[in-house]
């Protein structure tokens, strides 16, 4: 089945995107990326500690991966734009995941500031992938701003609660032209499969993989679940019904 995911003219080899945070080591992170076959991975930008020797994370990201800087740490559009510019100056290309979080309790994204940052960065030629709280009006504003996708949360970051926002995700999938990539809250492969069954173009997970007892195996499980969910979506999901209907025909001899 020919079902490519194409974002900003680039064919993405896997609909499973992997975040690189929270891994206990860079080698474990690398093994997880390889085990899952993830093509798009995210990184953050932080101050270095000049007193400490630090490994270069890029040395542990397999060649051929598309590295997308996230603007985590930004509390407003201006900070997000600043981080995007810094990330691009580091040479990681024009892809940027806009993440603007002023709310430190629930870590929910600020859609208004995200839209502001998206407008500016899209006009500067960035491939903008905005993390957002799923809201149709805001998603349409982002689409109009020229983003490459929208990335609505399934549940708050790090909660592993799954696709709590399923009805909103379905509405976005039905209403938008840009790919909908569910990001945050995806705690199990079955959550990832559900997101794909709803019609998401891809899923991003980080915490569930990085903190699992076997991150590489978990990463592979997620990738398989994403593939299964996508196949099911394309094949057509049977609707649920209230009245049971037998799967086998009547016997004709017992009753």
């Amino acid at each position: 089945m020919n079902d490519p995911l194409i974002i900003a003219g680039t064919q993405i080899r896997s609909r499973f995107f992997l975040g690189t945070g929270k891994f206990s080591s860079y080698p474990l992170m690398r093994d997880s990326i390889e085990a899952s076959g993830a093509h798009v991975v995210t990184v953050a930008l932080r101050r270095i500690d000049p007193t400490q020797e630090q490994e270069n994370i890029l040395g542990f990201i397999p060649k051929g991966c598309l590295v997308m800087v996230n603007t985590s740490g930004a509390r407003n559009a201006e900070e997000a734009v600043r981080i995007a510019h810094l990330g691009r100056a580091m040479g990681c290309g024009p892809w940027v995941k806009i993440e603007v979080i002023a709310d430190q309790r629930y870590l929910l994204p600020d859609n208004a500031e995200t839209i502001k940052a998206a407008r500016q960065l899209a006009s500067e030629g960035f491939v903008v992938m905005p993390y957002m709280n799923p809201d149709l009006s805001d998603a349409k504003r982002l689409q109009d701003a020229g983003v490459a996708s929208v990335m609505p949360l399934g549940a708050p970051i790090g909660t592993n609660k799954g696709v709590l926002t399923r009805d909103m995700i379905r509405i976005l999938v039905e209403s938008l032209n840009v790919p909908v990539i569910v990001d945050a809250g995806i705690g199990r492969p079955s959550h990832a499969a559900e997101a794909m069954e709803l019609g998401a173009a891809a899923v991003l997970s980080n915490t569930a993989v990085a903190v699992s007892p076997d991150p590489a195996a978990t990463a592979r499980a997620f990738a398989l679940a994403v593939e299964a969910g996508r196949l099911a979506y394309r094949a057509g999901i049977s609707p649920s019904r209230d009245n049971p209907e037998a799967s086998s025909p009547l016997t004709g001899f017992l009753h």
């Binding site: 975040g19 690189t20 945070g21 929270k22 891994f23 860079y26 992170m29 995210t42 990184v43 953050a44 930008l45 932080r46 101050r47 270095i48 000049p50 630090q54 270069n56 994370i57 890029l58 590295v67 800087v69 996230n70 985590s72 510019h85 810094l86 990330g87 100056a89 580091m90 990681c92 970051i157 945050a184 991003l204 980080n206 915490t207 990085a210």
Partner: protein, 67 residues
């Protein structure tokens, strides 16, 4: 003279170039991005041309794991 590196004040000899400043701290120029008084200085040749002055703000950043 005092300059601010990654939010912390430090003493630096007057006339030090940004590139010497990084060398003294053994910073690998390949894996950092430099923001100097709010401006991104992407190329290392630019670092040689910059002479630090009192109260300069230098940010040194690099990629780390993130979701």
């Amino acid at each position: 003279m005092r300059v601010c590196l990654n939010g912390k004040e430090m003493d630096v000899a007057a006339g030090t170039s940004l590139s010497d400043f990084l060398k003294t701290m053994k910073i690998d120029g390949q894996r950092v991005v430099v923001e100097y008084n709010g401006r991104i200085l992407a190329a290392s040749r630019l670092w040689e041309a910059v002479c630090l002055t009192e109260n300069d703000r230098v940010e040194l950043l690099s990629f780390v794991g993130g979701g």
